[in-house]
Symmetry: C2
């Protein structure tokens, strides 16, 4: 008969897989020994399990986040005891807000070594506080027969909890006592899968009729924020067609391109070109917080009634303005709305389509000059099925305003807490989908997670990184502190003496420095075969001027 350590860990790992875990991200350490070795063995005996090793736990957690948000699956992390586990906190903060089901297995020292000065021993209980949806500790070396049954039930139920709307990350702490070597090469147990059904609150019949009546008003429109649940864009397009709705489509809505999509709302508001005839009577809102800060303020200032639908984000409106909140599954609500009578009149839709077309033509005439507008143009060449990860700060804002892909792509960013940390690793997580993946980032964000580049070796996936190198933090030049001239560069601009080509050399990456749109577009059309870093140099001050000039140009052309 096998020992309790080996048996219980096999039940733990099998239970995780039964509830839909396929990816495990491991950061090595002594205390992880039995879990890591049995995981390696499980990978040999099951073909639905994939293990990636990442030495830097902060990077590992953001990598897992990228896998989970791309595949819409739970992903497991494994860390050794001590400060290693603390490195997961930034990604847990992001996962908690953007509802990503990460599962951290934090190995720990046993009870008898706690708080008496044993090495590598820290308080790991409830380590992520409010940033984890659930916490449990499980003894893996307890011989009692009930413990194994408890693991089968409890671990599966915990994964179910992580996957219940609103989804979120959980921590499973595993105190482990020496000896830590499991028995290898023995048979794996059969574990009974639990059927976990996620209940859904639906909008009632009267609600749907009332919403449909509002959508039939002459000037109804939709606001699609970031998609975090993998919604059906085809059905959203059917809904837009059914009620002739223009759709304010966030860059992360995955709704572009579409004849119903309006992009650049932030620019349009900034340029003050939205006249009263374009103000909607009602807005139907789905998804997370939009990238555009101005759209939220605009909705409130124009006193536009907003109906917000969703399980995760319902009630989350930092404009503090939402008129009606519908806590329900968006796909169900859309089906119900499609069953109600629609409208034929496309006047309002047409007006917004015209405005978008004019905006893009003004932007296009500006493109020749400025890197920040050339990049979205070139990225539009991304081939079908390509995936795109966008860094926070300036890249996500520019892309939200000006990016229209030629075909629908899966696009992601870490927009829960909007950190610049872990971006490279999250993009590698996206690349684990096996589809060609591109990361668009600035130089500071690339630097912050440079260790993530090691994943090109550890995860064996190719990726293209487009770095807009403006030698520091570009976004601060748009903020009031740029006027505090004496202190601005050292405290905010923070230029770093990093040479991108040397980073590429360090990680054996293909490197290209490009300075024109044609060269960039050519590269973008060809997927990378290994790690490829494309650098485009920019200038923070010129960028500010270009953005301001563009706003003036839009105002003049569209007023």
């Amino acid at each position: 008969m096998t020992d309790s350590l080996t048996r219980n860990i096999k039940h733990l790992l099998t239970s995780l897989v039964l509830q839909g875990v396929h990816d495990f991200v491991v950061s090595p350490g002594s205390r992880t020994t039995p879990v890591a070795l049995l995981l390696a063995e499980m990978q040999q005996v099951r073909d639905d399990v994939r293990v990636t090793v990442d030495v830097d736990e902060r990077s590992a957690a953001f990598f897992a986040l990228g896998i989970a948000k791309t595949a819409h699956q739970p992903v497991v992390l494994l860390a050794t005891s001590g400060t290693a586990t603390g490195n997961y906190l930034p990604a847990f903060m992001e996962a908690s807000i953007s509802h990503i089901p990460l599962i951290a297995l934090t190995t720990d020292r046993p009870t008898e070594l706690q708080q008496i000065g044993a090495p590598q021993t820290v308080h790991q209980e409830h380590l992520y506080g409010e940033h984890a949806k659930a916490y449990t500790a499980i003894e893996m070396q307890d011989d009692h027969a009930d413990v194994t049954a408890y693991i089968d039930y409890h671990v599966q139920e915990l994964v179910g909890r992580a996957l219940t709307q609103p989804m979120g990350p959980i921590q499973i702490n595993l105190p482990l006592r020496k000896p830590l070597m499991p028995k290898l090469g023995e048979a794996w147990p059969e574990v009974t899968p639990q059927r976990i059904l996620v209940g859904q609150r639906q909008a009632g019949w009267q609600d749907i009729q009332a919403i449909a009546a509002l959508l039939r008003k002459p000037k109804a429109m939709m606001l699609l924020g970031p998609d975090e649940i993998g919604w059906q864009t085809e059905k959203i397009e059917q809904l837009a067609a059914h009620y002739q709705l223009p759709v304010l489509a966030d860059i992360l809505s995955n709704f572009r391109p579409s004849q119903y999509a309006v992009n650049g709302i932030d620019s349009l508001i900034a340029a003050d070109v939205i006249d009263d005839s374009l103000i909607p009577d009602v807005v139907l809102r789905f998804g997370g917080t939009p990238v555009s800060a101005k759209v939220i303020t605009w909705l409130r200032e124009k006193e536009i009634p907003v109906i917000q639908v969703g399980q995760e984000h319902a009630g989350h409106d930092h404009g503090r303005h939402t008129h009606t909140t519908v806590v329900a599954d968006p796909d169900t609500v859309i089906s119900d709305l499609l069953a109600e009578p629609g409208v034929k009149n496309a006047t309002f839709l047409k007006k917004w389509q015209d405005l978008t077309d004019k905006l893009m033509s003004v932007v296009t005439t500006e493109v020749a000059n400025t890197v920040e507008y050339q990049v979205p143009t070139a990225l539009a060449e991304l081939p079908e099925n390509a995936k795109l990860f966008i860094a926070n700060s300036m890249p996500i804002r520019d892309m939200d305003n000006y990016f229209v892909p030629k075909q629908r792509l899966q696009i992601a960013a870490n927009r829960g807490a909007n950190g610049i940390d872990g971006t490279v690793s999250s993009a590698f997580g996206m690349a684990m989908s096996g589809q060609p993946t591109t990361l668009l980032t600035g130089d500071l964000t690339l630097f912050h997670d440079m260790n993530g580049l090691m994943l090109s070796h550890q995860a064996h996936v190719p990726m293209t990184i487009v770095v807009v190198n403006n030698q520091g933090g570009g976004i601060f030049s748009f903020l009031p502190q740029s006027e505090a001239a004496a202190y601005f560069e050292p405290m905010f601009g923070t230029p770093l003496p990093i040479v991108i080509e040397r980073i590429a050399r360090l990680y054996d990456a293909e490197y290209k420095l490009v300075d024109d749109l044609a060269a960039l577009s050519d590269l973008i059309r060809k997927p990378a075969t290994r790690l490829r870093i494309i650098e485009i140099q920019s200038n923070r001050q010129q960028n500010v001027t270009a953005h301001r000039d563009l706003t003036t140009a839009i105002n003049e052309a569209l007023s």
Copy 2:
């Protein structure tokens, strides 16, 4: 009259300085704007304030830890809202256990933006949980006159709390509302300094007499663990002389070299060469958990009575064996013990001195062959006043066994939680002392905190890094999992395809590859003038064999 934001932040910063803060480590971000700008201004108007910018918050926190543990002063961190603040957790875990007074100023979004989907807004309250000694949130934009007085009192009192034994890190959360621009160029306020006296529990008179009587036994000895309070080594040497005590001096005790110091206790126990005549009747123990794991087990197995003295570490004995715990200030206890009658008989001391001498001569004959013994020999050449930071895993263990500097150095490591994260940054923190500083590390630990290398630019301090490159995690080869051959390399060895010379090039460092003791010693004698990376290549398997051969050689020579 100045606005409340500017006034209150000036009072906050001045209160921190009044209680002994001189170093501020800033990671840029929008929400930090008023604090960062006023800090930059304060640096202009006061010459006792130093500000360093570090883009990576994880690195910043470990850097602050290094400064604090070297200077024995509180150090302030400043981060923007969101995941940035989460990056401090690993260093807070270490600071909490090793009693370092870090003060994190975490800027936050105001109440009206919490939990409703506002960007970059996370739960920052009590973010570090049990890993912070105190938490508070202070409104900086409240006009009420009492608020400014509250800041003067409360902030000074909080620093006092961080500095009270056992010392520890604290979090001050600062919700800030836009507009964030402070008024620059105005006069700074006078803040009344508070006098905060740290009470000390002392051992009573009977206790001291009883301990002194035990130390007069024929076979009494001392165990000095890591020094985290900056104790007076001269007084410890006087105590050893007074009672003729051999001192088991941990590498981090800062007690080597001394005629009373015994090093290599871990090797001596491993080689089974400590005969009964060397077993002490009693051990007087000061300081943190020793690097040697074996010495703790040995004390218990031999049933040696241990008297543990200290405020921070009293009661922390993971051998669960301490006989008497004295919760008192070590310096006071030593003074009292020096006032009691001592002993003249040095027989027991002489025996241990002989053993140490013999051990070192066996080690010396082995040195010619193996990198891991050559490195301590070369580092013994470090000049007076030099500082040395040692990475965890194998370097700290080898140094604990075989390192005897020619003069007393300040030596540090992160031995609270023993993480490999943040090591480069902590070493740069040590270098902020202005003394020549050397970091000894393996390649994995260097990689984990590669971003810390940016501090050579941001902090403008030189440092030497000696990298023993064994292409992966050397310590695992000593553990049982090394026998799981099929899974060992990918799960534990984790060789990374990193070329150290390319890291040096990326950070504009001087680079030397050395392969003999003489060349390494020559380099060690000359302090670095900028960042200097010295690589020595090693082999994990040969290292295991060499360690085992050495144990055999010690056993044969000393039995």
